[in-house]
Amino acid sequence: MASLLEMTGIQKHFGGVQALKNVDFDIEAGEVHALVGENGAGKSTLIKILSGAYTPDSGTIKIEGQEVTIANPRQAQALGVVTIYQETSLYPDLSVLENLFMGRQPRRRFGLLDWGAMKKEAEAVFKRLGVDIPLSARLGDLGKAYAQLVEIAKALSQKARILVMDEATAALTSDDVERLFGIIRTMRSQGVAIIYISHRLDEIFRVTDRVTVLRDGERVGSERVANVNQNWLIQRMVGRELTNLYPRNIRAPGKVLLEVGNLTRIGVFENVSFSLREGEIVGLAGLVGSGRSEIVRAIFGIDRYDSGTVLLEGKPLSSKPWEAVQSGVALLPEDRSRQGAILAMPVRANMTLAVLHNLHKGGFLDEKQEASITDRFIQALQVRPPRSELPVASLSGGNQQKVVLGKWLASNPKVLILDEPTQGVDVGAKAEIHQLMDRLVNELGVGILMISSDLPEVLGMADRLLVMHRGHLVAELPRGASPEQAMAKATGLEAQGIAHVR
C-alpha cells in the first residue's frame, strides 16, 4: 500500500545546531505510528515541519504521492494535517460548540453565523467519537480530559487525514487514556493516519502499529511494534540499555512524619486518612479528579480544607504554604512551567526561592550563601549546563525539573511531596530523579509522598501505594502489587461496594 505521507531526507538547522539530520518518516492511512525519542531528539521539530510551523532546509514531503510544500499552519490544515498540541489551543470562555468552529464557522446569508449547521455537524462528530459533551457548556468549566476530546473533535471536523497527537495523554488519567485509546482505534478504523508522540512507552505497545525512534536528530530505528520490546526501544532512545528501571533500596521506615486524619474538602475529597514515615516513599494514585493533587495542595496550604487534621511529627501543621515550608514540608507541583519554575529568572534565583526568608545578612540578600546553595544543588542534581546565571527557560524540561527539585531540597524538607515529578521529562533525567528519590529516603530519612499517573513508575518507586477514587481513599496496596490491581481500584471497579456501605 502506498504511503499517505512520506517525508524524505528532512534536514533542519537552528543556527549552528543541526536539529534534524536526513530524517525519513512515512505513515499509511489507518495506521497509528509512534514517534519516540528523548527531549531534544528532534520529534517536535519534525512535527512542526509537518504542521507548517517550520520550513525544512532540505528534503521532500509527499502526500498521496504528490510532492507538497507546507509553508504555514493553514496550508497544513488544507492538506488534512491537524496537530493537537500539548497546550490546548482552546477558548476557556467560549462554549464547546464555538470552540469547535471558531475561525471557520458556517455562514448563512448576510454573513450571519449558521448555528444550526454547526450544531448538526458537532453532534455528528461527537457521535463518531462515541462521546457525549453538552455543546453549550463553557469549556473552562469542563476538565482537561474533556478539553482534549474537544480538540480531537475539532480535528475530525476539520476533515483531518493525518492527526498528530503530541503527548496527548500527559494530562489524562488512566480512565481517560482508555477512552482516548478507544477513540484512536475508532479513528484508525475510519482510515485516519495518526502520528502518536509519547514519553510513556507502555502506551506505544498498547495503541500503535509502528514506531520510529529519533536520537540527536537522526532516525535510529523504525519497526513494527509487534516485532520489538520495551528494551529495544529504550536502548535506541538512550543509546544504552537501562538495566534497572526503578532503583529502590527499601529500608525499614522510621517514626511517623506526616499524619493526615479525616481530611475533607467538600465536593473534592472526603475523610482521607494516611500517614507517612521517615525513610519511606508512599505512592498516591488515582484518576485526575479523584482528588489526589487536591489533597496534597490542601496539605501544603495552597487550597483550604473544611475539616480534618494534618500533623507533622505529632504537631498540627499550619495551613499556610509559607509556614508549611518553614516546618519542613515541600511540594513539587504538577505543572512545572506554571507552578514550579519562574522561567525568566536565573537558576540561582529559582533555587533559593523557598529559603529566601532565611537568606539575609544585615537586612540585605546574602549573595555568598545564595551562590553556595546554588552550586551545591547544581552539582548534586547534575543540572546541565551547570550555570547559575542562565534563565531557567533556557534549560531542557528535565533540567528545569531538577532546578525545581533543587529549590525544595535547599529548604531541607522532612516531608517531600512530588506531584508528577517525571512528567514531560526525558528517560535519562527520569532515571536520575528516581535515583535521587531513593537516596533522599535512604541517606537523609526524608519521607516522600509521590503522585504519578504512570502506574508502573509509582508502583516501582513506592514502598506502598494509596489509591484514590472519587475523593475517597479506596485502597492501600503493598510493594509488588500489579498495575492491574491498582487500576482496578482507581477506576472504581472494586470500590463500588465500599461506596454503598458508606
Binding site: R74, T88, Y91, P92, D93, L94, M102, G103, L139, K144
Partner: protein, 320 residues
C-alpha cells in the same frame, strides 16, 4: 454560544435595590421626565461604552478616549460654525474618531505594544496636538442647529435615546451573531488559539479601536451639543466613566467575556447614581466616592460568584 447571565442578574438586582431605596426616600424620582433625563444623560456614555466593551473583550484597553471626545467635539464645533449641515458634521465627527482609533489600533498591532501604554502615549500626543491647533482657546457661540441635536425628538422620544438604543441593538447583534463579533471573544479568551484557528488577530485587535473611535465620534454629537462652548480640556475623565460602566457591566477586564445588556445596565447604574444622590439630598461632592464604592461592590460580588465555578482550564494571566 455560551452566555454568562449571572452578572446581568446581579447588576439588575443592585439597580432594583437602589430604585426601591429611591422610591422610599424620594417618590418624585419616578417621574417620566426625570427618567428620560437620566437616559439622555447616559446616552453618550453608553454609546462609547459599547465601543470600549469591544476593545476590552479582545483583552485590550483604551484610555485615550477622553481626548478623542475632546478632539471630535472641537472638530464638530468648528465644522458646524463653518456652516456644514448637521448630518455631515456627525459624519465628520465619527470619521475623526475612527481615524484616531486607527492610529491606536495600528500602533498596538504593528509594534505589539500593550494598549495601556500606547493609549497613554497617544492620549498625551493627541491632547498636545489639540491644544497646539486650538491655541487652547474655547469655541464660543455655537450655531443653534448644532446645539439642538440632542433636543430633537422622534415619536416622542429624544434623539440621544434613540441613538443609544440603536447602537445597543446593533452591537448586541454584531457581537453575538457575526464571525467578527465572535472573534472578539476568541481573541480575548485565547489569542494564540485564535491565531491557530486562522483568525486575523491583528485585524481584529485594530478594528476594535476604530469601532471605539467611531462610537466616541458619535457620542460627541450628544455630548458637545449640550454646551454652549467647547473647552480644550473637555472630556477629561471620560475614559474613567466609560471603563467604569463596562467593568460594572460585567465585562471581564482581561477579555473574553461580557454582554451588551450587561454594559447597558452598567452605564445605567453609573448614570442613576449621580441623579439619585441629588434626590436623596446628599451633597454632589460625595458622588465620586459613592460611584467608586458601587464599582467595588459590583465587582466584589461578581468575584465571589465566579469563584464557586472556576475549574481546571482556569485562565492564567498576569496582573494589571
Amino acid at each position: 454560544m455560551y452566555v454568562d447571565r449571572g452578572r446581568q442578574y446581579s447588576i439588575a438586582g443592585f439597580l432594583a435595590a437602589l430604585l426601591v431605596v429611591l422610591a422610599l426616600a424620594a417618590g418624585n424620582f419616578f417621574s417620566l421626565g426625570n427618567f428620560s433625563d437620566i437616559l439622555v444623560n447616559i446616552s453618550f456614555v453608553t454609546i462609547a461604552a459599547v465601543g470600549m466593551m469591544a476593545v476590552i473583550l479582545t483583552g485590550q484597553i483604551d484610555i485615550s478616549i477622553g481626548v478623542t471626545l475632546s478632539i471630535c467635539s472641537t472638530v464638530a464645533a468648528i465644522a458646524s460654525k463653518a456652516g456644514v449641515p448637521i448630518p455631515l458634521v456627525a459624519l465628520i465627527s465619527v470619521g475623526t474618531g475612527a481615524l484616531l482609533g486607527l492610529v491606536n489600533g495600528l500602533l498596538v498591532t504593528r509594534f505589539k505594544v500593550h494598549s495601556i501604554i500606547v493609549t497613554l502615549g497617544t492620549m498625551s500626543v493627541f491632547r498636545g496636538l489639540l491644544i497646539y491647533f486650538t491655541k487652547g482657546a474655547w469655541i464660543y457661540s455655537l450655531p443653534q442647529d448644532f446645539r439642538s441635536v440632542g433636543l430633537g425628538t422622534f415619536l416622542g422620544i429624544q434623539n440621544p435615546i434613540w441613538a443609544m438604543i440603536i447602537v445597543l441593538l446593533v452591537a448586541a447583534w454584531l457581537f453575538s451573531s457575526t464571525a467578527w463579533g465572535r472573534s472578539l471573544y476568541a481573541v480575548g479568551s485565547n489569542p494564540e488559539a485564535a491565531r491557530l484557528s486562522g483568525i486575523r488577530v491583528p485585524f481584529v485587535q485594530a478594528s476594535v479601536f476604530v469601532v471605539l473611535g467611531a462610537l466616541v465620534g458619535l457620542a460627541t454629537m450628544f455630548y458637545a451639543t449640550r454646551f454652549s462652548t467647547i473647552q480644550s480640556n473637555t472630556g477629561q475623565g471620560f475614559e474613567f466613566v466609560v471603563i467604569t460602566a463596562v467593568v460594572v457591566g460585567g465585562v471581564n477586564i482581561f477579555g473574553g467575556s461580557g454582554t451588551v445588556l450587561g454594559v447597558a445596565l452598567g452605564a445605567l447604574l453609573v448614570g442613576i447614581t449621580g441623579t439619585a444622590l441629588t434626590f436623596l439630598g446628599i451633597s454632589a461632592y460625595w458622588e465620586q466616592a459613592i460611584q467608586g464604592l458601587f464599582i467595588l461592590l459590583a465587582v466584589a460580588f461578581d468575584s465571589v460568584r465566579l469563584r464557586r465555578r472556576r475549574y481546571v482550564l482556569q485562565k492564567v494571566r498576569g496582573g494589571v
